[in-house]
Symmetry: C2
Subunit: 217 residues, 2 copies
């Protein structure tokens, strides 16, 4: 019985890694679709999102079955509760990758990012890709150093996010209202994606310490 | 023992109602701060948000204790798992009310909403207020008709959200880039607030039926 239970727990953790890989893949493609721009790739991201949602629902069902049938306590209970929380955030990260792809598709063949901001968005996309890959590694290894690296990446993204507004509000900004709307939303999406990654890192920390880091940024 | 357990479950549900009331209060004040504009009220909303976060963390701790000590099954288990999910969404709704208040404070004494959009934002704020109050009632009564009314309100907010972009992208729009950024973010916040309320209504539905409605919009 105990062995079955441990196997089920490992399964839940392995599925989190699987979903995180899909999310990392989605943001990699979304940022490429956004920055190229590439409408086909954007459509791929949009078409893949339901798969992430489905996997998250399945994982939640498994976690709830474990709670009902195995009635875990202590660290085992924390693993299951964390899995529920982490899957919700991963699902949300998938949604954001999809939103970025939708922006790219909507403006195609135009580039969503005007010339003045292409470098910035290309860096934001690259950093989101990095933080998503680190997240997968963190879920696989639970190495706390990875969480620290993720916070550094998030800080860099926050700075770029502020920089986008500096550009848009500067006197040299010549974008039409549409461009302003687009870059405002895009910048917010890239920034939120990283926030969710950091919030998951906090949940992994809870798993290890039992101390709940609490509210998200 | 059984009696203690039922009392603990009711406590968790009562705390959800309390948090939801605080969130309803926060959005009521945030929309007033935003639409008046009223910087003092904005500061009240911002100062109150940590209280919502704290209550959500406390509720989560209680829910996890119940899982560990009472090992609930069937509907009782669903109540506890739903409470964890609902508290995360309520906490996020509080954050959004805070973001709206921050926008108001940042632009004060200017009004964030330019004249052409004041009616729209005033309606969005009023509908967010309504959906938050209905949410509190839903958590209190679990009456499924309330969930239906909430979806109607959400649809109306989505329409207003689209209307904001129609205005901003129309030829008559004379807003500077700053105004465009502000109304883009504000409209997104008002719209997301209602999305979270609807996602909680789905979680309440799960509580009643055991069928998990899955991914959020």
């Amino acid at each position: 019985m105990r062995e079955v239970f441990q196997h089920q727990l490992h399964e839940v953790q392995a599925r989190l890694v699987d979903i995180s890989e899909l999310v990392a893949n989605a943001i990699t493609q979304a940022e490429k679709a956004f920055n190229s721009p590439d409408v086909r790739l954007a459509e791929t991201v949009i078409a893949t999102d339901p798969r992430i949602d489905e996997m998250a629902v399945k994982l939640d069902e498994n976690a709830i079955d474990i709670l009902a049938l195995q009635q875990p306590v202590a660290r085992d209970l924390r693993i299951v509760v964390s899995a529920l929380r982490i899957s919700a955030s991963l699902e949300r990260m998938g949604d954001i990758a999809q939103h970025i792809a939708q922006l790219a598709r909507f403006r195609y063949p135009e580039n969503v990012a005007p010339k003045a901001l292409r470098d910035t968005f290309s860096q934001m996309g690259e950093l989101d890709r990095q933080i998503a890959n680190k997240l997968t590694e963190l879920l696989r290894t639970e190495d706390p150093d990875i969480a620290i690296a993720m916070r550094d990446i998030d800080d860099a993204i926050d700075e770029l996010h502020v920089g986008v507004f500096d550009t848009v509000l500067s006197e040299t900004w010549q974008g039409e209202a549409m461009a302003t709307v687009d870059v405002t939303l895009a910048s917010r999406y890239f920034e939120r994606f990283a926030d969710h990654a950091v919030s998951i890192a906090k949940k992994v920390q809870y798993l290890q310490t039992g101390a709940w880091a609490g509210a998200e940024a």
